[in-house]
């Protein structure tokens, strides 16, 4: 898929020749607050999440699109990176959905990123954990398995952002700050465990949405 995208990009470059074109590199980074998650002093033992329908567009034109599910493991994956071509100076629109599409179980149990062996499948009830995070903070062990889709309350969340890329900018970082999950709001203290779809999963899904940001380097 990625290879195909590169070929596509190459063809695009070869066929269109205007001066506003430039390549932008997008890289995913996981952090705990300001420190990289791989650092030894972060309290996270497990951190992975699914997305699908990742797209970057400009003026309604698609520059990058991954419809299929992706699983990102903050602690074991090699850092995810990709490149896309922009042809205009206008803002770019970034969108993706945290969680999995409705069709995910249409054909039975999935393989690859959808294999239950990834530890992202509930077995007592059908469905995937969309975001899994286990951490020891302040001598307390937290365990979050966040997910749920119909007939359970839907814990998928769609992220959207607009970015204005200044001239010369070549790198964007997609930052996932896992500490955000453990940031209590006034009325909602931090739960210790969440292992099922429901109101708690909905709350944590909202918090995890807040964990994402895009930074221009």
């Amino acid at each position: 898929m990625v290879v195909r995208l590169y070929i596509l990009l190459f063809l695009l470059v070869a066929s269109t020749c205007s001066h506003a074109q430039r390549f932008i590199r997008l890289q995913l980074r996981h952090t705990w607050g300001n420190i990289p998650i791989e650092a030894t002093n972060t309290p996270v033992n497990k951190a992975q999440f699914y997305i699908h329908n990742f797209s970057i567009s400009q003026l309604g034109k698609t520059l990058l699109y991954f419809p299929q599910p992706q699983l990102f493991n903050a602690l074991s994956d090699s850092p995810f990176a990709t490149t896309f071509l922009i042809t205009d100076t206008a803002e770019i629109d970034i969108a993706f959905t945290i969680g999995l599409p409705d069709s995910v179980l249409q054909n039975g149990i999935g393989e690859g990123v959808l294999d239950p062996l990834n530890g992202m499948f509930w077995t007592w009830q059908t469905g995937y954990v969309f975001v899994k995070c286990e951490a020891s903070v302040h001598q307390q062990k937290y365990s979050y398995h966040i997910g749920g889709m119909a007939p359970s309350p839907d814990a998928r969340r769609t992220f959207t952002a607009q970015l204005k890329l200044p001239a010369g900018a070549q790198n964007i970082q997609w930052v996932v700050n896992w500490e955000q999950l453990f940031t209590p709001s006034q009325n909602n203290p931090i739960p210790v465990t969440c292992h099922a779809p429901g109101p708690l999963a909905m709350l944590l899904a909202d918090r995890f949405l807040q964990a994402h940001s895009f930074v221009i380097l």
């Binding site: 039975g108 149990i109 239950p116 062996l117 499948f121 077995t123 007592w124 059908t126 469905g127 007939p151």
Partner: protein, 356 residues
């Protein structure tokens, strides 16, 4: 003389054609084939046969897995230990089923048949695909207590299984996807459609008087609104006014939807083979059909989510209960529970635990 013989043959043929006509088994032909036979008067099954077309090798593998204790932590607790064929694949005479380490399941094990017509499984509908069903008992600590990693490793290292996967799926590499597909291929063959009721509807048999009166009552008293023929369930979730069991605290459908309106709602069970699936209801609290009917008559405890048609109960005289019961017994499919095709090849393993 010849004329007579000819007429005789014609008569026999005519009867055969009539019988066939009224009892046509649609051998539904999908491009991939393999959809099990079912009566032509039934709705179409909902299982995605395109994604998992049953083959004889796949069904045989699924059946072997269903009867194999290897899928459990103790090596004995197979699917079949809780789903017994003679009880239409329910756990006979146990309110709750036994899992590994002498633990009990949360719910009464339902019979397994006509599963290709369901869109969700478990009494709360929490399982939304038949292929995902085996993962629940396998990994439940109070049922088979095993991990998926171990199951796959045990199957992969087994002297026989890799070859069976090769035969069924063209690869000897065992995966969650494939072993669950094999189990589904076996489960969808469990079609129960040959009870006396079916024969009566097909015109090849007749109800006796109590059975007929029971059938009429079943239709007239609104039972069929939920236990809808021909599958004898409408697959809805309903609260029939059973008070909560305060040790199990099972709120049914609400566990899945988190919606208070679904509190104490459970999936309407099929009443096919109901004579064999005792005890009854989600926690097996009733040991006889009489007790269930008594509940409908006078035991309903209305609650906000109780089905409107049951709030005041369904009044039934002793006579009527007897007639309904006589009708319900016509839903027993003896050919199904005795069908050797569904039975384990090995009758009993040495050292097999017997439950009291």
């Amino acid at each position: 003389m010849w004329k007579l013989v000819f007429l005789g043959i014609c008569a026999v043929l005519a009867v055969c054609v009539l019988a066939l006509h009224s009892w046509v088994w649609a051998w539904a032909k999908s491009p991939n084939g393999g959809v099990p036979a079912y009566p032509a008067t039934w709705p179409k099954p909902l299982y995605n046969f395109q994604a998992n077309p049953p083959t004889s090798a796949g069904i045989a593998l699924g059946k072997k897995l269903f009867y194999d204790g290897l899928l459990s932590a103790d090596g004995y607790t197979s699917c079949a230990s809780c789903h017994q064929q003679f009880a239409a694949f329910s756990t006979y005479d146990h309110p709750l089923s036994h899992g590994v380490n002498n633990q009990f399941s949360l719910r009464n094990a339902p019979g397994l048949f006509n599963l290709a017509w369901h869109t969700n499984y478990h009494l709360d509908g929490g399982i939304t695909h038949l292929d995902a069903q085996p993962l629940a008992p396998i990994t439940a600590t109070n049922e088979m207590g095993e991990t998926l990693e171990n199951v796959i490793q045990k199957l992969q290292n087994h002297p026989v299984y890799p070859a069976l996967f090769q035969k069924a799926f063209g690869t000897s590499k065992v995966s969650t996807r494939l072993f669950t597909k094999a189990i589904s291929q076996f489960l969808v063959t469990l079609v129960s459609a040959n009870s006396k009721y079916d024969r009566v509807m097909a015109g090849t048999d007749t109800f006796n008087l109590p059975q007929r009166l029971g059938y009429e009552l079943f239709m007239a008293k609104g039972c069929a609104g939920c236990h809808t023929p021909p599958l004898f369930t409408n697959f809805a979730f309903e609260n029939i006014g059973l008070p909560i069991d305060s040790t199990l605290n099972d709120y049914g459908r609400m566990r899945v939807t988190q919606n208070p309106q679904d509190s104490l709602r459970f999936k309407v069970p099929s009443l096919r083979n109901v004579q064999l699936t005792m005890p009854y209801t989600h926690d097996g609290r009733f040991s006889s059909i009489d007790q269930v009917l008594q509940h409908y008559n006078s035991g309903v405890v209305a609650h906000a989510s109780t089905s409107p048609q049951l709030r005041k109960g369904i009044s039934l005289t002793k006579f009527q209960m007897g007639q309904i019961k006589a009708f319900l017994y016509t839903l027993t499919d003896t050919a199904f529970v005795k069908n050797k095709v569904f039975a384990d090849a090995v009758v009993e393993k040495p050292g097999m635990q017997h439950h009291p």
